[in-house]
Structure formats: C-alpha cells, structure tokens
Symmetry: C2
Subunit: 498 residues, 2 copies
Amino acid sequence: MNKNFEKLKDYMDKGIALSAAMGLFEWDNETLAPSAAIENTSKIMGILAKENHEALINDEVRELFAGLENAEDLTETEKLIVKKMQKEFKKLSAVTAKEYKDYNELTAKSANAWATAKENNDFSGFAPYLEKIIAFNKKTAKNRVEDRTSPYDVLLEDFEEGFTTEVLDKFFGELKEGILPLADKIKEKEDTVRADFLRKSYDIEKQKEFNRFIAEYIGFDFNKGVIAESEHPFTTGWHNNDVRITTHYYENMPESAIFSTIHESGHALYEMNVADKYTLSVLGGGTSMGVHESQSRFMENFIGRSKAFWEPVYPKLQEYFPENLKDISLDDFVKAVNRVEHGFIRTEADELTYSLHIIIRYEIEKQFMEGELDINEIPREWNKKYREYLGITPENVSEGVLQDIHWSQGSIGYFPSYALGNAFAAQFYHKMNEAFDVDEALRAGNIGRVTTWLRENIHQYGATKNATELLRDVTGEELNTKYYIDYLTKKYTKLYDL
Amino acid sequence: MNKNFEKLKDYMDKGIALSAAMGLFEWDNETLAPSAAIENTSKIMGILAKENHEALINDEVRELFAGLENAEDLTETEKLIVKKMQKEFKKLSAVTAKEYKDYNELTAKSANAWATAKENNDFSGFAPYLEKIIAFNKKTAKNRVEDRTSPYDVLLEDFEEGFTTEVLDKFFGELKEGILPLADKIKEKEDTVRADFLRKSYDIEKQKEFNRFIAEYIGFDFNKGVIAESEHPFTTGWHNNDVRITTHYYENMPESAIFSTIHESGHALYEMNVADKYTLSVLGGGTSMGVHESQSRFMENFIGRSKAFWEPVYPKLQEYFPENLKDISLDDFVKAVNRVEHGFIRTEADELTYSLHIIIRYEIEKQFMEGELDINEIPREWNKKYREYLGITPENVSEGVLQDIHWSQGSIGYFPSYALGNAFAAQFYHKMNEAFDVDEALRAGNIGRVTTWLRENIHQYGATKNATELLRDVTGEELNTKYYIDYLTKKYTKLYDL
C-alpha cells in the first residue's frame, strides 16, 4: 500500500470512529437518553466533533494530499477515498475546530429545544437556536462560495453534488407545472375516498408487531439492524452490519407508522447492502441524500403504496386488526392510503402533494439564506406559502413551521433531496420495469426481486458514484423529471377517475 | 486559571468524551446492538481506545505535568485532577497506543465470545480470548511493578488503591474465619426455609413494572437515568445526569431481578449524586470499585434484604402478584430472600456465602497471574474450590467458570471489590445507625434519610477521596472486618435460630 495512503487511512479510520460515536449519541438522544442528560451530553458531543475536525484538518493530512496528488500506485477504491476525503477536507476547512465544536454542541441542544417548542406550540422557544444555526451556515458557506455559486448553493451541493439553485429552480418549475393542475383537479374530489376505518383505534402493541413483520418482509435484517421509537422517524448506522431505524406510533393513524417503517427500511436496505469492502470507510454509506431518499421513497411509494404490494400482505394486516378491517376490501384500503389530502404535515402527505411541501421549504430556505427573510418572519411566510400551494393555513406553528426536525439539526439544504429522491426513484422504477414486471413480482410476494435489483444496481456501490453518475450508469440518462410526472399523472388519473 | 492546567484540561475533556463514547458503545452492545454488528463495532471501539490513549500519553501532557509540579495557583479540585490524571498517565504509559487499541478491540469481541460460550456451555470457545486477556494484563502489569508488589497487586490497586495481596490475604483470612463456621452450621438447616412460592410463574411485564417502582422508591431518578435489560446486570453512565442500569428477568425467579435492580440502583445513586462541580471531570465518578460495591451491596443487602425495608413495600409486591403471594406473610418472604443456599451462582448468592464465591475467584486470579495455573486448568480448579468452600460441584462450565462476564471484559482484580464492598458497607451501616435508627426510617417508608446520608457522606465527593480516606472521614477508622462479621453473625444466628 502507498505509504501516504496508509497514513491517510489512519486519519480516515479516526474520523469514521468519531462519526460513529457521534451518530450513536444522536440515536441515543432521540430514542432513549433521560431528559436531564442533554446539557452535559451536548458538551461531550461538541468535543467529539472537535476531535473529528482535527482528525482531518491538520498539516499532516494537507501534506498527505499533496503527496498523493500524482500517485500512480493507488487502486480505484483508494483514489475514490482520497477524492471523497479531499471534498470533506475542503468543507471542514471553512470552519475552525472550536467553531465546529460549538456548532455541534448547539445542534445537539437545539434538537431538544425544537422538540420542546413544538410540544409547546411556541416558535419563540426555538427561534434563538434557529438564528444561530442559520448564521453559522451562512458564514461558513460564504467561505466556500466559488464562481457562479451562492452560499445556499454550497449547502445544497453538500447534499447533492451539482444540484445548485439553477438546476433546482428548473426542476421545481417542472414539478409545479406537472403537479399543480393535477392537484387542483383532485381537490374537488378529495372527499370521494373513504378513510374512516383508518381513524379507529389500532392497538399500539399490535402495530409494533405488524411493523416488525413488514420491515422484515421488505428485507430489513434484524441481525444487522434495530427498530426503535422516536418523535421524528429517522435512519442511522455506523457500518453495514449496524443500521437503525425509528418509527412513531399513533393509535388512530396506523398508516403513519406503517409507511414510515417502509420508508426508513428503504434507507436501511441501502446502508445494509453496501459492499463489505467499502463499509467503515468514507465510501461506506449511501452516496447522497437525494439518492438515499430515492431508495426510501421508492420503497414507501412506488412499492409500498401499490396495490400489487398489498395483495399478499393486506390479509395479514386484516388478521391483526379484524375489528377495523375485516369488511374493508383491498381496493378500499389501497385507495385510502393513496388518497390526496391538501394537508399541513409533510411526512403524512400523499405522493402527489408531497413535492409541494418541499417546494415551500426550498423557497423559504433560499429566502433566508439570501437574507431576504428574517427569522421571525418565517412562520408568516410559511403560512402564506401553504395558502398559495395547498390552499390551506396552518392553525399553529406545531403543524406549521415547527413540524420538521431538520433545521434544528443544522440541515439546511436537505429538503430538496426528498423531491429529487422522488424523481430519481421514478427513473429507477421505469428501468426496473424494463428488467422485469415489478407488479407481477410483488403480487407473487416476491419482493426479493426488487431488493436484489436495488442492491445490484445501486446499494452495493455505496458512495463510489455520485447521483448523476449513478443515474447514468443505471438508467442511461441524467435527471429527467418526465418519468416522475408521468408516473403521478397515470397513477392519480386512474385513482380519481379524472 | 493556571495556563498549564487549562491546557491539561483540554486533554482531560478529550479523554472524558472518548471514554463516554466507549461507554455508550459498551452499553449499546450489551442492551441493543444487532448480533452481526460486533465485528465491525469492535474496530470502532479499538480506534476510540487508541485516541483515548493518545489524548493522555503524549509529550505535551508530560511537559504539562512537569510544569504543574510546583504550581501554587491551583485550587484543591485542580490539584486532585492533576493527581488523578498522573495516576492514569502512569497506568496507560505501560502500554502503547497500538497495543491498547488491539486490546480494546479484543475485549469488545470477547464479551460476545463469552456470552456465546456460556450459552453453548463450551469453555474452549472462550479460552483463546481469556488467554490473550491474561497475557496482556500480565505483560502490562509487569511494566508497572514496583518494590514489594507483584503484577496481580498492580491490577488489584487499579481497582482499590492500597489493597494489595498482602492486605487482601489478611482480609479474606478474616472473612473465612468468620463465615465458614457459620455457613457450615446453617448448611444442615438449609431446607428449613421455604421458598417454593418464589419458583412460581411471575409475569415478566409485571416484574418490569414492579422493578421500575422499586428503583424509583429507592431514589433512582428517571429524569437522569435509564433501566434496560442485559444478560449480566450492570451500571454505567457518562455524567451525573445520565446513569444507566440493566437487569435480567427470570419468570420463575422474581427475586433475581428485584435484587439486581436494587443493587444496580445503589451504584446508580452514587453516580447520580456526585456534585455537579466534579461531573465531566476525572473526579466525576465513584472513587473505586470497592466503594462502588459498598454502595450497591449496601442497598441490596443491608437495606434491601431487611424486614424493615419490606414492611411498607411488600404489600405492593403482593398487589402485583396476588396469586403467588397473597397467603405468604412478610416474615416468610423476608426469610426466603435471605435464606442461605450453598449454590453455584455468585450473583444469586445469599449474603453469607457471597464472599466465599469471591474468595474462590481471588485465589484463582492470584494463581493464574502468578503463572501457577494454565488457562485450561481453570475450570477444574474452579470446581475443586467450589467443593472446598461450598461443598458443591458445578455440573457444567455455564454455571461454573463461565458464569461471570468480568474476565471477558478484561477486569482481572475486580472481584475482591465485591467483598471489600461488603466490609465497607458494614462500617458505613454501623455509622449510619449512630446517626439515626435505620430500621425505624425504613419502616416509616422514609428511605430518603438513608440516601441523603449516603449522598452527604459519600456520593457527593465523587473520586476526590480514595477508599481509605473516605472510610477514615466517614467512620473514623480504616478497613475493619469486625463490623461485617458481627453483622453477619447477628443476622444469621437470628434467622436460623442457631
């Protein structure tokens, strides 16, 4: 092994271990840690972040990169590792170790402050944290701005290489054009789909059992993973043999847990299926947030909300809840979980209006990152945009601007990943259907064909290809919104008999 | 603040954060992590251990110690921190960062190997790990041997300053002299105490509820702590606002969970009650393993097995399990949970024979540390000693040499802490009774008097005093076995009407 690379690998290992520790603390904070712990624990997390920073941003690593510039004895994987680390180096260099420590301490506390503010329906309890988080992101993004990019572009590209506001403005424009007319037409027919049976009482313990079953059915391997509960469902993990998801159970809304379990299992399969040779390296996770969301939203929607998927599975759900479902047909159930609702909550949104929720967040982020929106104006702007795009006004901040955890964790520029994920997923779905009849496989209970295709074409490669490279290799073209619009149009025209 | 101390504090903070991360991974491995995770996770833990080593063992720290040697502007707390760090420095210096990394990777894996070997009743599955662990401890302890101490002394003093084999040989000699005649006399009367009602079926969910109640009753603060389940009950934590215990439930042995919950809660109260000014520093935990066990065994036995404790609590237990306990009197219950049984399992042992289990482990550790016992001979030696001290022969290694997790975690020299803990506890108990009538307080349900006394006299000081200093400050004398022997003699003479 190249001597410089060997030394660089030590730094990588250190970063991997420290990130894993931070990830475990985050998981623990969200799922288990006692309420009084956060103040002290956030100090610990700040120190770990500082160590993580110093493991990469130091003179020896800088010299190692220089020494490796024209090295000819690196394997392809080694080259990709160096490239990935250089990218991270550039990103972290924009901030000092001390700033990074303070920021991580802040975001650790901030997630708690957000949860409390949401519970108390009080934006002012979260605003000071959000203000600091935005200020930090603005400042550090400015240090990284290059030709033709803005600070917001810098953040967007952290989540999705190449997807700047220029690309996204066009992308969201196409989505609006495709979705809004469809959504408007359906709005008049919204109450033609019944969902009353989903508002009955569903025993939480039974829900847990069913969710475990459904995760396993999809391919979630409990030898390599854990399911727990948290306020906001999420996926995390530190290597391909330890991947964790959470869900959240509501007694009168069983589909909430079911589809978040399927969604997070989609993320989890991606992480579990990364090839062993990449795990515990910087190439060991999903390649980008957009591709990650393409996997989770693929599983949740393209697969999980299809009639074909439920054909072998729905009888099982009926067995768990006969009192509520024995007289409900498969068709009625599938219609109910696909019904369009112009609602407030993104995570509960149907496939059609989902992207509208994202557009709102994208536009607001763009505004406050470009200094056109003061923190205290965000709730009003939020409500204004909900009226504009969905025709409804949130009654309070809990179901408005405070509904999402992302900003409290410092994730600004993340939201577009969900919409990109939808579009990527539609492209993968189209391609998969060329390989075999997906519905036929699902109807036969043979979901393994789907997950095998995903593993072979996407998952195994971890972070070795970026989204555009992956799309090109798998589908032969780059981002193309057409597939997603076509899919939505076909699906909802049929469902609502338009 | 002294500039050198300020710099040293950064290294301390780093060590604290890395230790916390390692502690969280250990907790997670024992309570939640998926089965396939350990191989990769142990690599992460090895790297964190290496970082932890390098955070202390480096030239700058060495110079800082030199610069602080005659510093006159340090507070008392700062002086104690320097002293404690120097002790740790000396200990860690005996091993290179690489060796330390490998060793921690080994012990992370080894705890799993132990669990599997125990389950399969197969010593050979664990022997290779034990061999490496012993070899490492021998080698590194040899580097630290000073005048008149042996490698085993070095390990013993890691857990209890000043308690070398010379002191412990005398201590265990006194215990034997006091306990063996008493235990022999009772052996003939063992079957006079009924415990059949404890072998009925006790619903696990109800047990969990009761254990939660009992922990809270003792003073375990769920805002600052968590209870989970693991094969081997233990306590851990990273600061005074995050302390965690585990227990293990058996359907036909409810007292197992109850007394391990009380035991671990005793540990937890110690950690939770350390003063805020010491937490997140090297003074922030319990001062030694012996003192820690004095707190856990105090709660478990002196308090938790007393009739006075159960007077207000037993009716609650009867409410939970009326079908098993409604006709069992308080006296019969208390007798049953105090009955002497010459059994195989240390953690299930009564107070009287408990120390015999410890003597056996002490003698075996001494033998293999002094090279007088080969790894493969340990099971035979174990059984021989069980015949000698308890008159019984384990039928298999699961209930013999493989019953304890300690060696798999690298804890050699830990076991004497339990016996020392018993003796310390008896001294504290004697002193507490001079301050107020303990039984009277317990009968009145006023256990807060007990925990307040412990907090004020012991817990709040964290690691600022070693065991001997603490004993002296609290009781006015050093280790004195008399109190423990007197307590046992009085208790068991009465219980068995000798």
